[in-house]
Structures are given as C-alpha cells and as structure tokens.
Amino acid sequence: MEAKTKDLWVFIETKDDGSAKNGGIELLNPGRGLADKQEGRLVAVVIGSNVGRAVEEAAQQDADEILVIDGAEYSPYTTDAYVDAMYHLIEKYGPTTLMIAATLNGRDMGPRLACRLKTGLTADCTNIDIDENTGDIAWTRPAFGGNLMATILCSNTRPQMGTVRPGVYKKAVAVTPHAEIKKEAFHVEPGKIRTELIKVIKNVTEEIVNLEGAEIIVSGGRGVKGPDGFELIKALADALDGTVGASRAAVDSGWIGHAHQVGQTGKTVAPKLYIACGISGAIQHRAGMSGSACIVAINKDPKAPIFGVAHYGIVGDLFEVLPILTEEVEKLRA
C-alpha cells in the first residue's frame, strides 16, 4: 500500500471502562518527535466502546488529530473487529508509520494487520529512531533471548509498522489539547467476529500478581536455589510492602509461578525500587526491568551482568545478605 500522507499513527488500546491503556498513550511521546522529523502529523487512533476518556488522554499528549471508532462491538477486544477497523482506516487515510504498544492484544492485532496490508512489522521494539540515510523509521529490538539487538528497516512498503514494549517510553507532561477529533462510523457485523468470550476465569492455581503496578519489586533467580530460598525473597518483599518477582530460570525450575516472571517472556516492569537477588541478569531479564528507577543487585558473582544495570550492588551470598537486609528494613520502617 502507498502512503497518502506523512502522518505517524499511534494505536491507542482502550480498557473496558473506555479509558486508554498506558502503552499507547506513552507512545505519543516519542511519536511527537518522530512525526515532526517525518514532517507529518501525529495521529492517535482510538478504538473501543464509549472511549471519551481515552480521547481526552490522547489529546493531552499533544496529538494533532484523533481518529475515533466507537462501538459496542469493540469491547471486549477481538482480533476480527479490530483488524477490520484498523485496515479500514489505513486504507482510507494512508499513514506512513504505525506504532502499536506491544501488549497481548497489540501483538495479536499487529501481525494480522501487517499481513493484510502486505507490509513489514517489527515486534516488541525497545528503541525507535529515524534512519539517517533513508528517512525510514529504524526499529530496534532484542533477539536471541535479548543477547543481540537488531535494527530493522521497512523501506519499500507502507505503513511501516512496529510494536513497542510498554514502559520503554514515559508519558509526556500534559498539554492543552489542540487535536482535531474525527469520528469514523465503521461497524463490524456480528457474524464477522468469529471468536466469543465465554467467560473470564479466576485462576485458581496461580495467584494474581500485579507486577506492572508495583512500586517495589524483590526478585529471585537461579541463585535462590529453590522454593525455600523464595521464602527469603518474600520476607524482604513483605517488609518493603513490595511484590515478588522472578527470573525465567527460577520460574522454569518450578520454584515460583509464571505470574511472577519479569523479563522478555514475562512482565516488563518499572518500579521505584527493584532488588535482584541471585539473578545473573541475562539481557532478557534486564530488558524487562532496566527501566526501574533504582536497581539493587545482590549476587555472588562479581562479573554477573546484572551489576551492569544496577545502581547499587552487593557481591555476596544472598542467603546471608537477605535476612540482614530484611531486619534492617524492618528497623528503618518501624
């Protein structure tokens, strides 16, 4: 598909209550600068049901235009309805770039939409820039479990698309809205939606762990050595009113549930304080937590890569350090 404009679009995913999910809103911040460099407008695309709040949030993030598709069939999310709606808009208006937050739904919709548009999509980016030579977007993403970074261009087809990991960019300071709001009447026939939400499941085997919203996270890795070691992690987390996280190694060993996993195949977090205990810090883990405001690493191996992203580190045995730290925290917070 040919681009009809130089506009950069950001897909704004909405919640059931019609407000915006953070992932999309955050992308309007880097989107602003990229749109200016591409000499196009920054357009927020809001889809959902009763999305007034999401439109307001997008307007405060300096969008030039907000395209809105509002209808009961867009809540809850379905692949069929969202891909049809996005395809309709892109075909009609022809943006040059489309950014989508790499949430579960964003990564469900993105590839299907890219395929329908016969264009390229770069998944789960951690950096977006403009390629100096071509003027195309340079999408940078981790591969090989985060051991390698790759910068990818999509030069010959439009729109160039990327999903971007939530939490990588922060929301900008709110501005006085100036966006032109354009409502699009596009409806999807019920018969075209081929999946059906039967029910939401309360997961009985795994507790709900709200890592994304946590202010303090204490995480354990291979060095924790077993479920018993996680008791020490939990004790410190409790003392700090924090949440327990874990590396993939600890989860794969069955020491703690997957809901606790931080990193590439787990959650991306950005708390005020992240304490990594016995985590070597493979980049797939670091990619999930390096946005934390303060990172503390406790590890026996002074060469562990986790120290490369830590603000404070103790080279030592966590079985020795953690009980002391818990005790000190309890004293300081008493």
Binding site: R112, L121, G145, L153, G308, A310, I314, E328
Partner: protein
C-alpha cells in the same frame, strides 16, 4: 479431527554466550532444540488426541535440512506425520514471507494427506526471534480466525474452547474451526517420548517440500528479496557503568550500609 502443528528448530537461547573480546554471539556448540512454545502447541494437540484417538497430528517445520531432527523429536512425542519445508529460495524470509510459504505448505500437505486441517497450532513465538508474528500472519493468509497466547484447548462440538492468557485474568474463548491457535507456557510440562515411539521416529521418513513442491508460489513474495523488513545492523547491547558496589568488609556491614543508602535516598 486433523491438526497441523508448526514447529521451528532453534538454538537454545539460554545457552548462548557473548564473546567478551569480540563482543559477538558465540553460536558454536549451542544445542538446537524444538522451540519451547512449539512443544506446548504439540502437547495441546496430543491432549486432544488423548480424548479423541482419531485425531491426526501432522507437524511441519520450515528450516535447514537438519531441522529434520526437531521433526523426529515431535514424531517421537506425539505427531503422526512430519514434513520439512526447505529450499534455497526460502532462505532470508522475514515473518510475512515465512507465513506465506507456510500457507502454501499447509495447502500442499492437505493435498498430500488427503485431509482438511481443523486447526493449525503454533507456539506463540520462537525463542530466537521472539516476534510472535508468524502465527497471526499465517491465520490472515488462510483467512482463519485466531487466538494467541492459549494455555489450554479443548474440542467441543466441532469448535474449540480455549483458555487464553490475559494480562490480569485469563479468558475462556470459543473459536470456530478451522482456526489458528498459538500457545504459551501452560501450567503443566509437555510429555516425554516413549522408547518405542523414539525408535519409530528414527526410522520415519520425513518428506521434504522444496520450491518444486509449490509451482504456483509467487517468488516475489518469498526469501530475502520478497521480505518487506530488512535487518540493517545487529549489535550486542552495551552495559551502563555508573553503578556502585557496596563493600564495607563483611556481608553485615555492607548490607547495613545498603539499607542506609536506600533509606537516605527515600527509596524505602
């Protein structure tokens, strides 16, 4: 019930190390494995077959000749038949081109097996590329509905009921057949192959589908030149160097110091 399971042979990314001098990936000696998430997809198919023994499970992989090893492992675990899609013109394909080739492969395999697949199961992503794109792109090429990040799947009255992982709560979703479902890590481990199945798998013939198997494929849509995305550069990520190691002599004194710093900085 006929199920096609797409698998990829990948390097075990947990075994990949960085050469500290050259700052490059050391790929030599890294074991090749069946992509972890694809093993969950195969297990989901095997569980459907446990309940309905008439289920026919076919595995397909696109990759180099030695990906036959991954396919034989799948045969040993649960698959009834395996096909390898391998050809020089397929090399360098990005996800859009790969999913287009797989669409063609699926149609060819349906013809060869004389059956229609009710579902295509994939892992949600491969652990080397981590794109999570081939499954949904294949669904789009086929025009089938899709569910991504499934944990469990049951066949019910000619359709499927799938437990899908959500960001907070999981969902039970019904989907029409034929469909594409991608699987994430469930709460159980995939089964191991029996000795008997392993021996049979070693002897099994795995047909190879190369370019000649797809006379109608559009060559401008496959391989490096048929891929809309191109890798401009790769690099090993840099570390930041402004961290502070606290060493006050003993574990106790260092830890006390750490707690004091965090308290002074109002982090705790």
């Amino acid at each position: 019930m006929n199920i096609l399971v797409c698998v990829k042979q990948v390097p075990d990314t947990t075994e990949i190390k960085i050469d500290p001098v050259k700052n490059t990936l050391i790929r030599d000696g890294v074991p090749a494995i069946v992509n972890t998430f694809d093993a969950y997809a195969l297990e989901a198919a095997a569980r459907i077959k446990d309940k309905n023994p008439n289920t026919h499970i076919v595995v397909v992989s696109m990759g180099p000749q030695n990906a036959i090893n991954a396919l034989k492992e799948c045969l040993a675990i649960a698959a009834d038949k395996a096909y390898l899609v391998s050809g020089r013109k397929f090399g360098g394909s990005d996800t859009l081109a790969t999913s287009y080739i797989l669409e063609n492969a699926m149609r060819k395999i349906e013809e060869l097996e004389g059956c229609k697949f009710d579902a295509v199961f994939c892992g949600k992503q491969a652990i080397d590329g981590d794109t999570a794109q081939v499954g949904p792109e294949l669904a789009e090429h086929l025009g089938y509905p899709q569910i991504t990040c499934a944990l469990e799947c049951e066949e019910k009255d000619g359709r499927f009921e799938v437990i899908k992982e959500g960001e907070e709560l999981n969902m039970l979703i019904g989907i029409q057949a034929p469909c594409v479902i991608t699987f994430t890590k469930p709460g159980f481990d995939p089964r191991y192959p029996s000795i008997k199945r392993k021996m049979a798998a070693n002897r099994a013939e795995v047909p190879i589908l190369d370019e000649s198997a797809f006379p109608d494929i559009d060559l401008t849509r496959i391989g490096l030149s048929g891929s809309p995305t191109a890798v401009k550069k790769t690099f090993v990520p840099q570390q930041m160097q402004d961290g502070m190691i606290i060493d006050e002599g003993t574990a106790r004194t260092s830890t006390v110091k750490l707690a004091q710093i965090l308290s002074d900085k109002k982090v705790i």
